[in-house]
Symmetry: C2
Subunit: 203 residues, 2 copies
DNA sequence: TCGGGTTATGTCAATATTGTCGAAACTAGG
DNA sequence: CCTAGTTTCGACAATATTGACATAACCCGA
């Protein structure tokens, strides 16, 4: 199947669908909202809905994708001679967190999806994150994407640090942004300093 | 919904379903096989099929799950005072690779799933792999699962090494097991020696 | 062996997703 | 404005998945 993603028209319908979905979700809950309702609200067919979104639940992760897009651009904007870990750190800390919106969507996700599914999507985001880092790192080191084991592994480890910190943060009691920042910083430093396996070298 | 996963009976039906599915897939292709056919062949209802497998495609990853199970046990069998990276290395290299079967299933996957989906499943396996390592590592270091940022990040980095190597291997020309072993070894060593970000510390 | 509680299935009926094919809307050139 | 080439949509029709509730199969202790 061909997914629309080009013209102004398709952007309009996609937006209409997204808006209609959020309204319904907030008003009557995710479960109680059918894909058909969303499509009808947006004035299109059910089939068209599925041309724009892989699934009903995908709508609940639009913010993740937007964040990823933002991150990719932030990374590209960093100076080419800056250490990659530092670039990642700066980009992450500069993210314009909208705690209100994040919390709201997170509540919807928690309502509609079992933990496993949320984690699964998180993994997808992590992988895309790693890909973005690898792309940038490869560009700097002068190698083609996917052509260097070192680049691949390093990018994945950086992603592992960031998302590991995020997971750790979500499990903990202190959910403040400051705590998240602290954890990310610590995890990234560990990777940067090569201290990852260090403390556990003898376990 | 409650998923069966306990008694001998459920194991029997699950096996029957898996076997029926593989036969059909091999005989007439994945696309041309309906979930209903598989269920009928196994002598159960369609609904029961979905109680044992999340989706039709999940059957194409049964070998991954089996491998994961094998790995978890292999890891548990290693001495508690062995460095975790070494344990992982030994466990991976000891895996009883059945190249025939692996190739066959891989072909089915390639036929039925677009690359994105395959990668997505791979990520799930990687996350489970990381969880297994974290569990073992936490046990050795004497911390609760998910209670130590260092354990979380280290486990994820080890997983990143192994699966990064795997991805790299799949993209390369030399698909021999020896090459895969070499790549895994190199990637794990990099993590172990803290050389992950090292070479890129100035990029 | 006989309950009783637990677990796995069957039944039935919504939704959710996807393939196919033709029509409508949009774009660039004349 | 009109035409040809694209791209998005609508209309249908299979499957694929999931929820809810009733049954049958199993397991354990009296």
């Amino acid at each position: 199947m061909v997914r629309p993603a080009h013209t102004a028209r398709s952007t309009r319908t996609r937006e209409a669908l997204r808006r209609a979905a959020v309204l319904r979700f907030l008003a009557q809950g995710v479960e109680a909202t059918s894909a058909e309702q969303i499509a009808a609200d947006a004035g299109v067919t059910l089939r068209t809905f599925y041309r724009h979104f892989t699934s009903k639940h995908e709508l609940l992760f639009a913010d993740y994708d937007a964040g990823l897009h933002w991150f990719r651009r932030a990374l590209a904007a960093r100076p080419a001679d800056e250490p990659i870990v530092e670039s990642v750190r700066v980009a992450i800390f500069a993210f314009p967190y909208d705690v209100e919106a994040i919390t709201q969507i997170a509540a919807l996700r928690a309502e509609a999806l079992d933990p496993g599914r949320i984690v699964a999507h998180m993994r997808r985001v992590e992988a895309d994150f790693a890909a973005a880092v690898a792309e940038r790192l490869g560009l700097r080191a002068g190698v083609e994407p996917g052509r260097s084991l070192a680049v691949t592994v390093t990018a994945r480890c950086i992603a592992a640090a960031v998302f590991g910190a995020m997971e750790f943060w979500m499990l903990g009691a202190d959910r403040s942004l400051a705590e998240l920042a602290r954890l990310c910083h610590a995890a990234l430093s560990a990777v940067e300093d090569g201290a990852v396996a260090g403390p556990f070298r003898h376990y």
